[in-house]
Symmetry: C2
Subunit: 271 residues, 2 copies
């Protein structure tokens, strides 16, 4: 396994500024790369329950536990979800596809069964809580799965067609498919690399938010990210230019500019 120092070098493209603790946990976290080439081999039987135990061990707001996950193994269903998720072939190849659900429906069922209202669930805050809960759980599952030598990649593309995904998965109202996660053994014939990130000083602020100095740091990152692209035989492009083009108009949202109306139809009026 690669050392924490080497992982830091790959992530930031400069040496770590101090001695870091070289623990298996930190190595596992810093080793993440998104895997898009999988072997079709099935997972060991223990992988899913272990990952879900890790997911449920994450913090959850006020113990509401307002998330669910659908484990999709069926090949035909994965193929349909791959189409809905922007024709991402790895969803079809990886043997397991997890769809993470911001799920307020379980709480609603509890209330309804007792003849109670569930007014609080209509509010933006409740949806946010549920979305954060789902993300914390999913990330713990991801780290657990990667720790078993498996590869993963998040699929935000499911948000291109949330209603069709909800229908495919038989979701009740108040359950939103937030994102997917492919899981499988990485195909080592097409290994994935650690992607460089912004310098820490860009995202980490001390005491108060301070964007001073950010321009120079981003210019450095543009050069580093471009060098990485060229190493990977990918198109040469500055990160900041890609970002600016992406956010300039609603076109960059790939149809997701209707999300608020979609959420309302799925049972989230976001009051």
């Amino acid at each position: 396994m690669t050392s924490v120092d080497a992982l830091w070098q790959a992530r930031y493209r400069h040496p770590a500024p101090m001695d870091l603790p070289d623990s298996p946990v930190l190595r596992a976290l810093m080793s993440h790369r998104s895997v898009r080439a999988y072997r079709p081999d099935p997972l060991p039987e223990h992988a899913l329950p272990a990952a879900i135990a890790a997911a449920q061990s994450a913090a959850t707001s006020s113990n509401l536990q307002s998330w669910s996950v659908i484990a999709v193994k069926d090949q035909a269903r994965r193929k349909r979800l791959a189409t809905l998720g922007g024709n991402q072939k790895h969803i079809t190849v990886a043997p397991l596809f997890l769809v993470w659900i911001a799920d307020l429906s379980r709480l609603a069922r509890l209330a309804t069964a007792e003849g109670q209202t569930h007014e609080a669930l209509d509010y933006t805050e409740s949806f946010m809580t549920s979305l954060i809960d789902a993300a914390l759980a999913a990330q713990n599952a991801t780290v657990a799965l990667e720790g078993m030598g498996l590869g993963t990649v998040y699929i935000g593309g499911l948000r291109n067609h949330p209603e069709a995904v909800a229908a495919e998965l038989g979701l009740p109202p108040l359950a939103f498919p937030a994102f997917g996660l492919c899981v499988g053994y990485p195909d080592m014939a097409h290994p994935a690399s650690i992607k460089p990130r912004l310098p820490q000083a860009c995202v980490l602020h001390r005491e108060q938010y301070d964007p001073q100095g950010e321009n120079g740091l981003i210019a450095q990152y543009d050069r580093d990210a471009d060098a990485f692209q060229r190493e990977q035989n990918l198109p040469s492009r500055a990160w900041s230019r890609t970002m600016i083009d992406r956010i300039a108009t609603v076109a960059g949202l790939h149809g997701r500019d209707t999300m608020r109306a979609t959420l309302a139809r799925l049972g989230f009026p976001l009051k």
Copy 2:
């Protein structure tokens, strides 16, 4: 360190149904408990950079990296944030308080500097992406910190007063303080316990969403969670009853029913 089998037993209050891989990573993930009693001792110098490297190693939608974090050590500022976060004393005692920011402002600055629009940032989808990115990053940091023997607890209470928190931290528009995280050495005179969670079958669905059988599982969880409460000398109460009371009316949102208007004022119109 406790075995994975023992951690499963604590989390679900029944033995693991199969052999699980007993790795340091899985043990670290399953060991989580929210720590609310801290020693005031400062952290080792490497803790924060290592945690941020873990955070930045998490996946981020389209490499947008649309989050930031403010590291607050100043005692007076932590005290003010503790007041804003619902008078939670541990914010004042733990030596480090991290505030995780759903941050679209960096992307907006990039666009503005180039004379470009950033229309996409006005949409609900962009806010959701940013919130998910922040949560994935925060969870990786949490796992890294806990792996170093430190304790953490998420502070959703910051969402009681997001505008006051934003002012305290000097946040620009398009930066939302999503939640806080206390970090410090656990005070072993007041050890925290692993909290039981819902049975896996409640949150994990196969192929399609299926709430059949959920009632019996939740009744079992109500008994398990109540037994845990009594072991901890906490009030005896069924989980489902607590949840139902919490969501019945807007009162359970502790003033956060104004979140949508607050977000608009912070620069997120959620189109």
